[in-house]
Point group: C2
Chain length 320, copies 2
């Protein structure tokens, strides 16, 4: 499939950092940036921006903060046409943390929010756009919202100049018919704007759902190297690039990056198709309970986990 | 999704045996049969039937042959409403190997063939049906055939009483639009017959493509426990059962089977999302070259494998 409007956003470091508190080495981040640039990826999201003091720098690596100096050091000297991006959460960043785009290594700042916070996201995006950045709103966990709530949020967004709005399957709960419904809904409610798609792989549908979204007209596609990302991870960048058949994308640098950097990392931290995440995806639940379970000595007792989440006794419910 | 006509076929032992030459222990096969029966799976395909003498019993385990005595021993005493199935290849089984259904533990014998062998498959199916069995034709590798060839094969099949014909994505090369085209084609060409779907997971699309096929009207769905199967494996049974929302299917026995039997096995033999299989899927090629590569000391040199399959020098081509 080839469509020239399509833009690919790699979020390996940002979403992958949710696994290891963004404690990637500079060498790892630089190798990722280098390979993604060689592969022709349009946007590289290198972490979250957050106000100093909100997170303990002893516990969180530097890609939780994305200080401009740290960013400049890892990208220094690398030839790249990719635009650098970072993400911000509502309430975790202040205006003073965002310098004008001319002084920043970043070109795009994406805003993640829940449906209930769309008004706050719009205000934050307006500030970000005023400083000269591209921006997006990524409405998380919409698989848990009623359509009425989503429609209201989209109506609000349609009144703004925010150019890109994402369908985000935070819990990896959706399948192709859900994707079609939402992408069509977003496109109808947001004329003139680009619709994006960000998927999770709980049920091995991240790539399939991304294809479905692009068939339905989504033009901003998130992916990550070897699918790195919290829990089951994301749509694999290597699958997406090989599918898009756009000559500007090169698969080979990504394969080299996987074998040299991501395979060794995968030995130390885990992501991918793992049954407890399949179960939270199937139940349309946040993966946090699966993450905690995978950190316990019972990590492979799938039956116990399944019973814990599906047995309707009151005392079991509380454990959730 | 719920549709009462849907039948699920587990092919864990049959397709999984392609990894380890069907050298599963009786205990493993019995545990699989027990759990699949408890889960409410409709058909359990326990191996291939083949004429004695065609394969060395020193090298191939008993599920390459499926002698009735071996089969009866592992299922003895297990409560089950599932129908037992096996597969036969064209030219690897003779009429004398197929006893009348009343004397056999099997209820269904499936025939796998390439498009060019459909006439032979029809003859074999007729013999199988004459002996009282249910049967299917599984046309392999159709991603490599021109539509004209497929249309001819379907026209021949439409003249028979064979009740079920499968779309088989042997190379894991298809995505949803290919599936829709083929399932619609099969349904139109084969009025009154059931269309089946058998997928491979090279590009993490096995489950998504199975969903697409069932949306398009396929009612016979293949899957395997934890996706076990040659190379990248198949559609995961646990994903499929959790999706179908039919109260006759139970997920819990499959989760228990995975944690007790399939996780330990996965430590010894490999299947799943592995880059060389992703590359053969992307290139619409047989996985044999990836299987050989994974057996070599360079197994994780993905760049070398990619170059080997995509560099157009004559001497490289020959290695393929």
């Amino acid at each position: 499939m080839y469509r020239p409007e399509i833009r690919v956003v790699d979020c390996s470091i940002r979403d992958g950092g949710l696994i290891n508190q963004w404690q990637f080495s500079d060498e790892f981040v630089r190798a990722t940036y280098q390979a993604l640039s060689a592969a022709g990826v349009d946007y590289i999201e290198i972490g979250y921006k957050a106000s100093q003091g909100l997170f303990d720098p002893q516990k969180f690596g530097k890609w939780r903060f994305c200080n401009d100096d740290d960013v400049r050091r890892v990208i220094d000297g690398v030839e790249s046409t990719a635009k650098l991006a970072c993400m911000v959460d509502i309430g975790r960043v202040e205006e003073k943390d965002i310098v004008p785009v001319a002084e920043s290594p970043f070109k795009m700042i994406r805003v993640a929010c829940y449906v209930r916070d769309v008004a706050k996201a719009i205000a934050l995006c307006n500030m970000i756009m005023d400083k000269g950045y591209e921006t997006t709103v990524n409405i998380m966990a919409v698989s848990t919202n009623h359509e009425r709530e989503i429609d209201e949020a989209l109506a609000d967004l349609s009144q703004t100049s925010i150019p890109i709005v994402y369908v985000v399957d935070s819990y990896g709960a959706m399948y192709c018919e859900d994707i079609t419904l939402l992408v069509n809904k977003y496109r109808e409610a947001l004329p003139g704007k680009t619709v994006g798609i960000h998927t999770h792989n709980n049920r091995q549908l991240a790539f399939g759902n991304t294809i479905q979204a692009l068939i339905n007209g989504a033009n901003m596609l998130d992916a990550s190297v070897y699918g790195i990302g919290r829990g089951p991870g994301n749509c694999c960048l290597e699958l997406l690039l090989s599918f898009l058949q756009n000559p500007k994308f090169k698969l080979r640098p990504i394969l080299e990056l996987i074998q040299k950097q991501y395979l060794p990392l995968r030995e130390k931290i885990e992501w991918g198709y793992i049954i407890p995440y399949m179960i939270t995806g199937m139940l349309n639940e946040h993966p946090r309970v699966a993450i905690a379970f995978r950190d316990s000595p019972e990590r492979d007792d799938y039956v116990k986990f399944f019973d814990m989440l599906t047995t309707p006794e009151p005392e079991k419910q509380i454990q959730k």
